[in-house]
Amino acid sequence: MNPFENFRIALRAISANKLRSGLTILGIVIGVAAVVALMAVGQGATSGITASVEGMGTNLITVSSGGRSFQRMAGGSATSLLYSDYEAILATVGNEAAVTPYYAGMASVKNGDRTASATLTGVLPNYTRVNAYSLASGRLITDQDNLQKSRVVVLGATSAEDLFAGLNPLGREIQINGKNFSVVGVLEAKGSSGLTYQDDMVLIPLQTAYEVVFGAQAKSRGKNTVSGIALSAADADQVDLIMANVEFTLRREHSLTLTEDLPFSVSSQSQMLASLTNISGTLTTLLGAIAGISLLVGGIGIMNITLVSVRERTREIGLRKAVGAPKGVILFQFLTETLTLSILGGILGVLIGWGIAWGVSSAGLITTSVSSEVVILSLGMATVVGLIFGIYPAYQAASLRPIEALKYE
């Protein structure tokens, strides 16, 4: 009895009992498809978050107002992050990191009837580089723009689309709080991240933001404030040192002792990445557990079908033994049959799970990713489940004397 012959018998048994085979496969298909799809969503979310954080720029450190204490809410005097803080930080760590301040605020950004839903951000020339944006067309904000408080604007890819709907925005005018600005540049799209809308961007010179758009709103006790300061360390190893220097500088600037809470947050991208990866790792584990349960449910489905057909199959095994089939050959034949069904069901399940993941991706919900480990794992589990539930009843039947198996009720 060669394996090919065995495979032929198995195929005949499978095709002769299409309903039974179909139901058996169905259990595996549902289990495997659930595992593949759920894990694809989990892993896709994880890598999407990771990519978006990494996309913010490598070695990024952000300083923002609103630290660990809630002085503003507590009604204490608001401590704002000042433009002078930026200058002090630049003086301290300017050699080890690119430093860029920005002021972001709400403003109406229009091109006729069209509106961009972005916040307006006043920036210096190196803002785009520190935040790892690149230029698609035109030019960036320059020092000259800041000196002259020019009414120029650089748009993110989505904002350009919002305002111009495919037309080339370069050289055209948009209205910011009713004032005309001319578009000088458009940024390259960073892609969707699932975390922030990175391409919703309306950048103007920082000085223009202070003097032309926001005015007193951007000032605290007569001094220009900033929403945040971004630093990009030249060397990843220096991130911690730079952060310490930044904190030290901020304490000095605001006359705070070491024991007082810093009213600003100084955080690095790697800290953020770590906590986000942690969260999405938990998410993936949770989804994996749900998927495992579906596979178990699929296994129980297979078991039910096997139990329902065990009477007929026991008689079949009895008959095969009666006509002279050795026990080993019968078991090998059932093994082949179950393996064929499990693998077939497994492959179908992977394809369907993949299809669901693809559907989720193309519906724009979340960018999923199907990993080969998950595919191999779920195929393996499907096979094991199929084998256990398929072979065990066959083993029991084949251990009976033919006459007992034939009389089996």
């Binding site: 033994k321 006459i403 034939l406």
Partner: protein, 256 residues
């Protein structure tokens, strides 16, 4: 040649024991055709299953061509069932959703015969039972008599030394039953096939050359048939009456 020496079979159902066979001695030469008769529950099926190596006796010795069956392992037993025995069941036991031809091919899968040869042999066996033209039909498309003929073809396909049939006509009407008996007679007369069948019907039994009667697990009588009936002989009260009356007479003799 098969031979049993004091074989007994006891079933245990909880505390009660059912003694289905008690010290049965039976010897059947090659080329014989015989019927095993007896009332329901007398142990006929039990004996036949043991003869067909589908079951094992609790005690005693069973030899096929001098080989002791009880001493064989699983693999050797399978080989015996495959090579020496063809078994026909009262319930036909055909695989559902599987064609007649494939059902007949089943024993050949385990005999190392090539696919082509399997088909040819199975076709030939179907021809021997007169069913070649129904090769593609599935069991549910065949009448009871046809299903039993497929089962006989399956039993014949490995050219076994012994053909065993447990109430092969039990589920069939008189006419279909006669067809089955005719096939057995033809196999025995023309090919020298050893045929043993179980029946509770004395008329069917009289188509063989030897009748073994069992009661309560014992062989109570073992006698030749002077004039075996030809298949198709009408079932007349005379014949039946004659055979029944002899049975009664001899039973009384044995009892006295």
């Amino acid at each position: 040649m098969i031979e049993t020496e004091n074989i007994s079979k006891t079933y245990r159902l909880g505390d009660t024991k059912v003694r289905a066979l008690r010290k049965v001695n039976l010897r059947v030469e090659d080329g014989e055709m015989l019927a095993i008769v007896g009332p329901s529950g007398s142990g006929k099926s039990t004996l036949l299953a043991i003869l067909g190596c589908l079951d094992v006796p609790t005690k005693g010795v069973y030899r096929i061509d001098g080989q002791e069956v009880m001493r064989m392992n699983e693999r050797q037993l399978a080989a015996i069932r495959r090579k020496k025995i063809g078994f026909v069941f009262q319930q036909f036991n055909l695989l559902p959703r599987t064609s007649a031809l494939e059902n007949v091919m089943l024993p050949l899968y385990y005999s190392g015969v090539s696919h082509r040869a399997r088909q040819a042999k199975a076709m030939e066996a179907l021809e021997r039972v007169g069913l070649a033209e129904r090769a593609k039909s599935h069991p549910n498309q065949l009448s009871g008599g046809e299903q039993q003929r497929v089962a006989i073809a399956r039993a014949l396909v490995n050219e076994p030394a012994i053909l065993l049939a447990d109430e092969p006509t039990g589920n069939l009407d008189t006419h279909k039953g006669a067809e089955i008996v005719a096939i057995f007679q033809k196999l025995n007369r023309e090919e020298g096939q050893t045929v043993i069948y179980v029946t509770h019907d004395p008329f069917i039994a009289r188509h063989t050359r030897r009748i073994v009667s069992i009661q309560d697990g014992r062989i109570v009588r073992d006698e030749p048939v002077e004039h075996p009936l030809a298949a198709g002989t009408p079932r007349s009260d005379d014949i039946l009456g004659e055979s029944l009356s002899t049975t009664v007479e001899e039973d009384e003799e044995a009892g006295s």
